[in-house]
Amino acid sequence: MRGKAVIAGVGHTTYGKHPGRDRIDLIVEAVRNAVADAGIEKAMIDGVLVKMANSEPSILYGQKVAEALGIRPKVGGSLDQGGAANIALISYAAMAIDAGLMEMAIVCYGDTPRTGSRAVFHRPRGDDAAYGWYSTAAGYAMIHQAYKQEFNPPDEHFGAIAVQCRQNALDNPSAHLRVPLEMDEYLAGKYLVEPMRRDDCCLVSDGGAAVIVTSAKRARELGIDKAVPVLGFGQGQESWDVHLRPKLTRTMAETSAQIAFQMAGLGPDDIDIAQLYDCFTVTVLQTMEDYGLAPRGLAGAFALTEGISPDGKLPLNTSGGLLSESGTPGLQLVIEGVRQMRGDARLQISNADTCIVSNQGGSMHTHATMILGTAA
């Protein structure tokens, strides 16, 4: 599948607070922007794939979105994989287009947990709630603790991720949080669920985002010369809940990346830029190591010495990530990866030919990886 599918256009709303707006309204705005970005007619879209809204799962959601978009798709529906779903949907779109089921798909997401309900992130976790087991954050804190106990990293290894993501968001007009964060402020932050501090945790944001997927051939026919090729994609899933995993510090992100690398004919050393799902700082360290971008236990050391800034060895989350651009689950990372490969990113990295993007969900249960390249 290497290079057969492209991302022909991207669009999004601003991120942060959208009081009074419906999540599907945010999707419509994002799609309107993506259609304009691609320079296509909406009528060309014959696939509508939407990630289930975190804060209000519902049946036939994909059809509600398609109705709001005024599209009668050949292929449509919604997917729940938690935060891995957006890249998974892009890969399913690529394969369905290749199989001739449709020609051009919109993959989209919108939600309003900031001004609406964030109860989903604070929820009791089944019968274990009797022991005080609540929230999404706690599952990651359990992994953060296991990582600390196994590798004994200084807290600065986690802080390096939070500080860089904030730095990258400071001049991003769409970003939710543009208040500078220094390492000493990170280290002075109060624990939320120890060992995780406030600034280890991503934002809770309202926002919508959309990307347009089509075949490289169709994009050429339409003269979309800034279409970005999808070089590889893969998935992998932990089924065991966090506490049942044989090893908390290894996940199926590794498998997800290996499949994507194999499809792309590339390896970790070939990657120029990374947009990694940073719902929590430990997720980034873990993903870097699962992907082979840094040795086990040393992703934070890599960040501090080799560099993850736009000038560093591996520029990371160049628009601010979930930690600072938007807490929405993952499409913003894809969109930034596309912009970097087109050469029109706000913090543009020069001489970059590849960008790897990760999406993941649950408590590192679900993983989806995508590798983007530059237009031929």
Partner: protein, 138 residues
């Protein structure tokens, strides 16, 4: 918000009734010898139904833990800071629990030996644990 009492099903009833009787039970597959918690209707390895309930020795060790400094619901406000800890039983199954003498997690280490210390909360018997060797304070 009140105490989130477990939702007891026909599958999990022996587990909760065991705790009320002072026993920690886990499930065992007679077909493939897998042992696990939480309660399921079939073995998660070979899918054989009707697993057998066995009684655990009550000893195990710490795998990982967290300490809540934020109360996610009203009834937890009097409990913070409190630990939630993964314990692996000597028989193999794992569970989420609290360590009653961990000083809000401060005394925990990976591999710390723990023993069952059932506590009744809001009328529900919970499988809490106690550190068997408290850290030397001197």
């Amino acid at each position: 918000m009140t105490f989130p009492a477990p939702v007891i099903s026909e599958v999990s009833r022996p587990y909760w009734e065991g705790l009320a009787d002072g026993l920690l039970k886990y499930q065992h597959c007679g077909s493939c010898d897998e042992r696990w918690l939480p309660a399921r209707s079939a073995c998660p390895v070979c899918l054989t139904p009707d697993p057998v309930w066995l009684t655990a020795s009550g000893t195990g060790h710490v795998v990982s833990w967290v300490v809540y400094h934020h109360a996610y619901t009203e009834y937890l406000k009097d409990k913070v800071p409190y630990d939630v800890t993964i314990v692996e039983l000597d028989e193999g199954p794992r569970l989420l629990t609290n360590i009653v003498n961990s000083h809000a997690g401060a005394d925990l280490l990976v591999g710390s030996k723990v023993g069952l210390a059932i506590e009744i909360e809001e009328g529900v018997a919970l499988a809490r644990f106690r550190l068997l060797q408290e850290r030397d304070e001197s």
